[in-house]
């Protein structure tokens, strides 16, 4: 039953609807919807921002396939994901299990691990760039105490990726743990009580109760981390040392898009690249959704 109220009929009502929705809808149209369509359109154009855009069909995409620097960016992005994702996933779970214990001081740990989440990527990148400094940085000093001569880290194209991954895991650990915590706290205590009567050990409880019931949260976390890490930018842009081998080679897809657009003024080509990234994220998410019933257990099943 709908309650009829004053001014809630006909044109009177529409005036109010428009009043509330137009600012948002107009903005969404101009700054979100039109840009999305423009991006699709641009990916079929050749445009340097100066002369008028020229339709070139699939030429941008054909060029992408043969562009060694794009494949390299893709390779580095995938390499980054391959190292970052399992580390963040496992360490985040470990931290969440720790934070979920009734131990004194757990609050301090949560506060501390969440500090880097609040800090900006720029600040975090710069701090770790200094820590990874091969001559004067803390990491190589620490390694030297162990008698190891540390690598050139952000100067070297091979080791730079490890530095980026370590920094990213450090920054995101608290975030991942907090996502896990939500899942951990929603597991019904009944299961643990029952298992205690059966005399299950802590490890058995972890393995047979906590982890299976946590799989929906794990699934969610994997998807979020995948979507985010495909779009990694700030640390790749800021951390490699200027004019070093790492600077010339280490590239993420988004840094490649930005370079093509704003350094080489190749708007069409850059758009095509961003479309490929969008498609990649879409496909990976879709595959994950399809694979989920192989390993995700929902409590109601």
């Amino acid at each position: 039953m709908r309650v009829m109220v004053a001014g809630d009929t006909g044109w009177q009502k529409w005036k109010w609807v428009l009043f509330f929705i137009v600012p948002s809808l107009a903005g969404l149209l101009i700054f979100i919807l039109i840009p999305i369509l423009t991006s699709v359109w641009l990916s079929f154009q050749d445009w340097n921002l100066l002369s008028p855009p020229e339709f070139i069909g699939l030429a941008n995409f054909q060029e992408l396939v043969n562009d060694a620097s794009f494949w390299q960016a893709l390779q580095y992005t995938l390499g980054y994901i391959l190292l970052y994702l399992p580390a963040a996933f496992v360490l985040g779970l470990g931290l969440a299990l720790l934070l979920n214990q009734k131990l004194r001081g757990v609050v301090i740990v949560r506060t501390a691990t969440f500090l880097p989440v609040v800090a900006s990527w720029v600040v975090v990148s710069l701090i770790w760039k200094w820590i990874f400094n091969p001559q004067y940085g803390l990491i190589n000093y620490g390694l030297s105490l162990l008698g190891i001569s540390g690598p050139a880290w952000l100067f070297d194209a091979n080791t730079a990726l490890y530095a980026l991954v370590i920094t990213s895991v450090w920054k995101d650990l608290g975030y991942v743990a907090v996502l896990y915590l939500g899942g951990l706290q929603s597991i019904s205590p009944i299961y643990y009580e029952a298992s205690q009567i059966d005399g299950a050990s802590a490890w058995q409880r972890l393995w047979f109760i906590t982890l299976p019931l946590l799989t929906p949260t794990m699934f969610f976390i994997v998807i979020i981390l995948l979507i985010n890490s495909f779009q990694v930018f700030d640390q790749f842009w800021l951390m490699p040392m200027r004019d070093s081998a790492a600077d010339r080679q280490v590239e993420a897809i988004v840094t490649a898009v930005v370079k093509n657009a704003f350094s080489y003024n190749r708007m069409g080509y850059a758009s095509a690249m961003s479309m490929v990234l969008f498609a990649l994220i879409f496909i990976v998410t879709f595959v994950q959704l399809r694979l989920q019933n192989r390993w995700v257990h929902y409590e109601s099943e």
Partner: protein, 296 residues
């Protein structure tokens, strides 16, 4: 997990339970060691930032590195002030974050009101459109938004930094959820008393949705304060440049390889305000960041 340590259930004392007690003690010790190590790993980089910023130029390049600066020097902060107009840059960051956050709250809450508290033809279709835009990665938007900003003649203006961020569909989504949960009774009574939709929105719905508004405030403020990619391309000019962009320029400068005390001083100035606010409103920050993850 919590249950295991607090509930006491009838148990038979056996060798097994004794062994379990020993195991638990060992685990507890391990947990505390891990906790201390974790706190150190998380705090040390920030401490190192602060320490480096308080050292002189030649002192930062000394090995072995020393955690406590001696002599203590504010040289890097005064040099930083000569290099970058810190007052201006700081103001830009604050201004863009405050105005952008206020704007996003207003635009999103109004739209959320229309979606949650009014019935109109096409409502669900348009809301689906909002949801669909949330799935598009931001890099797809950056280039065309940049072109639109140029078309409007907004390059290097505050508008360029603020306006595109106002229309993030996630804000509307978040507030709609909260508005939907409010009972209809209040507004029906108000309607009968002759109140109009704006009065109801402003006097009833918004005051009852403070937690959701706080969540969006934190997300929006943090997003704006920490943003890098977008400001990097629309606001490089010193007059409107924000802290992250200024920091990026500083660390890429020709003397950047040795001026780490300056870079760390800038990083400190840019990160301390938000860390302090976080320490006072931790619960809200954690909750906000989690709800932001949920949009995925």
């Amino acid at each position: 997990m919590r249950v295991s340590s607090t509930r006491t259930l009838p148990q038979v004392e056996t060798e097994g339970t004794q062994q379990r007690h020993a195991e638990r003690r060992f685990l507890r010790l391990l947990a505390y060691a891990t906790m201390i190590a974790l706190v150190l790993i998380m705090i040390l980089p920030f401490g190192w930032m602060l320490s480096t910023s308080l050292k002189t130029q030649q002192y930062i390049l000394r090995t072995p590195p020393e955690l406590i600066p001696n002599p203590l020097s504010f040289e890097s902060y005064t040099q930083l002030a000569e290099r970058i107009d810190m007052g201006r840059t700081f103001f830009n960051s604050v201004f863009v974050a405050v105005v952008g956050t206020a704007g996003q709250l207003l635009v999103s809450s109004m739209a959320a009101y229309a979606f949650a508290r009014m019935r109109w033809r096409g409502r669900n279709a348009i809301f689906l459109l909002y949801l669909a835009t949330m799935m598009v990665p931001s890099v797809v938007l950056v280039l065309p938004q940049f072109i639109i900003i140029r078309l409007f003649g907004w390059a290097n203006t505050y508008q360029a930094l603020i306006v595109p961020g106002l229309f993030n569909a996630f804000g509307t989504f978040l507030l709609r959820q909260s508005f939907l949960s409010l009972p209809r009774d209040f507004e029906e009574a108000a309607f009968i008393d002759g109140a109009n939709h704006f009065t109801i929105f402003w006097r009833i719905i918004l005051p009852l949705s403070l937690p959701a508004l706080a969540t969006l405030t934190i997300l929006s403020f943090m997003g704006s304060w920490n943003a890098y990619l977008w400001p990097l391309f629309v606001a490089r000019n010193q007059a409107v440049q924000t802290l992250p962009v200024a920091l990026g320029v500083l660390q890429a400068g020709p003397r950047a390889l040795t001026e780490w005390n300056l870079v760390m001083a800038g990083a400190g100035i840019s990160v301390l305000p938000i860390l302090i606010v976080y320490l006072f409103a931790q619960k809200w920050f954690v909750q906000s960041v989690v709800s932001n993850g949920l949009k995925g």
